[in-house]
Symmetry: C2
Subunit: 234 residues, 2 copies
Amino acid sequence: MKLTAGERDVLRVLESQRRTVSRGTMLRRERDPADGMWVLQSGWAASALGMPDGSRQITKVHLPGDVVGTPGGALNGGVETVSMLTSGIVSPFPRSVLTTVFRDHQRLAALFFVLVQVERVSLSDRIASIGRTDARARVAALLLDLTHRLRLTNPAMEDRLSLPMTQEDIGDTVGLTAVHVNRMMRALADDGLIARGPGSIRLLDEPGLARISGYISRWSSPDTSWLPEPPEDA
Amino acid sequence: MKLTAGERDVLRVLESQRRTVSRGTMLRRERDPADGMWVLQSGWAASALGMPDGSRQITKVHLPGDVVGTPGGALNGGVETVSMLTSGIVSPFPRSVLTTVFRDHQRLAALFFVLVQVERVSLSDRIASIGRTDARARVAALLLDLTHRLRLTNPAMEDRLSLPMTQEDIGDTVGLTAVHVNRMMRALADDGLIARGPGSIRLLDEPGLARISGYISRWSSPDTSWLPEPPEDA
DNA sequence: CGGTAATTTGAAGAGCCTCAACTAGGGTGG
DNA sequence: CCACCCTAGTTGAGGCTCTTCAAATTACCG
């Protein structure tokens, strides 16, 4: 789909401001007032909920190119803690831009709608993974999910996944303890499904991983046939 | 927030068609072509994913008034199976209406965007519940969630929750077996947190339920301050 | 090169599942 | 009108998965 000049202008505004953030930086804390979203230019981030007992659940791992903190665009209270898993660069996506988009760039607005739907499906898949599959399958599903998403922006990527998450992070994402994540990674390696290096993992048998995890790639191009026509450019 | 005459017209079109459906009816199956969404006029429905081993995970329980099958509005393939938990009435929400809304009713489009964000937050909460709390807490959180949502449309509702889900349904929602759901309901009753009747439940101690489940009500009114102005009516 | 964070491994126990049997209700057909 | 059946709920026993706690090893960073 080709963007019009006007649409490109809007998106370019978003990249005008860039903020370098280090690992562990919290872009927003739960209950903070929500003032907008971010575009993650580089680095990995995570949205997480804190539990009363002190543990946390990562609800979404954000990769470069993702729009981060989308609930902050539309909802008042900050619902999730957004923090950097690695150092990186973020561009603020203020609410005012969202207003402009919905007012003047209908097609772009519809695209954002699609974007959130894709996120929604992704969350549904994680619920199914955590709720109905065992530990090994959950870890496998996460590895496949990250790999497929990274391939979208880097088609050259092969079977090597550079994974800047600690086993604690992984556990917080798939609902396991770090200790058990460690055992499951070992199990996957013992079964020849993956090979582990420092800070990276090779997926030796993607069909095998998909089989044990029930993973289905949903990252094909979404439907854009229903989008309204963009307004004429000046 | 007051809707304009034009906006009301669009929404009224959605209610023009009504289809009566019985319990168990599948509005859409996974992988079916997705042709749109529905407005659930009455009855309860569920969106679910089927797992390779034959089990299923309910990703969302839909109550009267909900827009059901939102991914089908924006995405091509049907990703979830949508089925009726009770008999009820649904109104089709075809994609073409979504196109119209985004083209001619910017503020309404933004409202839909907010709606999906609310859904997204709800899914995040369930992930945290399933991933990081024990069985009793998960059941308690579900009961509270349903109660709070029903109160939005029926403020007169007190502590009695009419619950037309089987224990199997509940288990599929919170990631447990029906057998264990049964034990947890009994435990909640033994602790004086709930009282069980046939087809309904009384929440005797909502603060207590909230405490053990870590449940936080997010169903306060969403932020609408950022919405663009609606177009002038003719 | 020292100190801290992250990973790894073991042992024991808790939580949830599986299997199985039994009960209660609600509808249907004889 | 009752016998029957099918679904849903209930309860018990045993086992497996995952957690917890603890300690040792390795990697990383200043």
